[in-house]
Symmetry: D2
């Protein structure tokens, strides 16, 4: 088993810029996060352009799809913004790649106190290795199939349709 992690930005990877006071993107936290997890399964990391998922366009989703298509690995975890995680999952689900692809993200950035990022990554890494091929969303400690998940923005949680 080998694992590929694809970083696309989202709340998980936001960084506070102390000069501008803006929460945006700089270098991905994923290399440090992966080291911290002490994972022994071989991991390949793809850092795509880091975006707020509200800013993701069709071309950006096509880039995520391409990263999954060219991956040698059968287990893929995608770090993604929560607001349009479902839309990207749908693009990947429709593509029927024959791989186990799990999208996850965070409600609180990794670098902010009380973040759920590391936990969510754990859920995604775990289930990506044991679920059958398909596209899934892992948030709130649950795993959802790509075609039966939505973000409840009022409650800030993912749930079935």
């Amino acid at each position: 088993m080998t694992l590929r992690i694809v970083a696309t930005g989202g709340t998980f990877d936001k960084h506070y810029n102390e000069l501008t006071g803006v929460l945006g993107f700089s270098d991905s936290h994923l290399p440090a996060v992966i080291a911290r997890t002490r994972m022994t399964v071989p991991v390949e990391l793809d850092v795509l352009p880091l975006l707020d998922s509200l800013d993701m366009q069709d071309a950006d989703r096509a880039r995520v799809l391409a990263a999954c298509q060219r991956a040698q690995e059968n287990a893929i975890v995608i770090i993604h913004g929560t607001d349009t995680m479902r839309e990207t999952a749908a693009v990947l689900g429709a593509a029927n790649l024959g791989k186990t692809i799990v999208l996850t993200g965070a409600m609180i950035p990794y670098e902010i106190a009380n973040s759920d990022a590391l936990f969510n990554l754990g859920v995604a890494v775990g289930v990506a290795q044991v679920l059958p091929a398909g596209v899934y969303v892992a948030m709130n400690g649950q795993v959802f199939p790509w075609d039966n998940v939505q973000k409840n923005k009022t409650a800030g949680v993912f749930q079935t349709l």
Copy 2:
């Protein structure tokens, strides 16, 4: 799906006592950790006596087994010290409970910088919900069957026999 988490101590749950300078046990961190994960799957928490797993005796393992036996839930995550995780897993595996039981822990306590605790919990919570009945150890981002796992104490990682 409902999940039961059984806290037994171990490095994951150690607490620094500022009066004595000793890393030992106080209240479990699990209630705060569970809140932080924003899990929406219903979770029941059993806090057993918190022990360094090197101090675990047969009676302590019997208590863990009893907690699994009386649990209503079919998915159980056990927070355990790493040094004898394998021994407790063997007791549970031999009991053949027909439930999915995943043991996990941490190399660095939850309250210490760079801890793997939250990640490991994520892996365990994720796979406990999707693996078939059986007893597993989830460490280093991998899932091991209870009868094919050991801690490599020199390297500080879990591996197959």
Copy 3:
């Protein structure tokens, strides 16, 4: 010696709202921060409306001045946004209150990784107890008189004029 801490918001006290994704204000972190410092000098805390200092108007500065005037304590630390810390310091300096007033803040919010907030508070608490009456700004490990300090916004540091 008794100490008064006046919270007015600023980067120090910003909070990430996970529902909106906005770094704004909620309850002040100061009660938790003060507990964490293990200060034994008696501390009184005034939580004024929490504001980004770019949003501070004359009326807001008047409120800070009033808090200093009515304080029984001769040592006062004010938690303030960095962008207009100098302007509030000037209002307090001109008022000539005969107390030792130290303004401080943070370049990174207290709840974000690598924050300077706790260090800056330490500097301010320390010097507020030993400097003669006057108004000072404590940032970057230095103490500046209120009438000889500016924020270099390009470098993100405080310096003399």
Copy 4:
């Protein structure tokens, strides 16, 4: 003004060794801590052998004294274990070096949640620049003269004699 920081170990600088499970010493955290403070006052760092202050012998205190004697700076902060901070302060106080020397430390290691280390360093750095020559202990947000301070081990706080 230039500042010298002398690291001697103590709880402040303890590091959790994940292979042995022991809180001991490895590389000093001080370089990272100093970067985090965003101090603009020039700082020189002396990392002496890192010790639990209960293990400090006369020769170790003589080494701290020598570091203070050879320092070009008139403001010196010493990071020290709390249990014998007073003893080292007495050695330095008796030497009458004509410099402002402030000893500080922590009740909780820098790398453990809820640590007071960064705050204490702030207090020490602040007052080291404004107090007259002499030897002081800065803990619990207070500054004590070297000959009127003791650690109350039951309460875990510093107080006058």
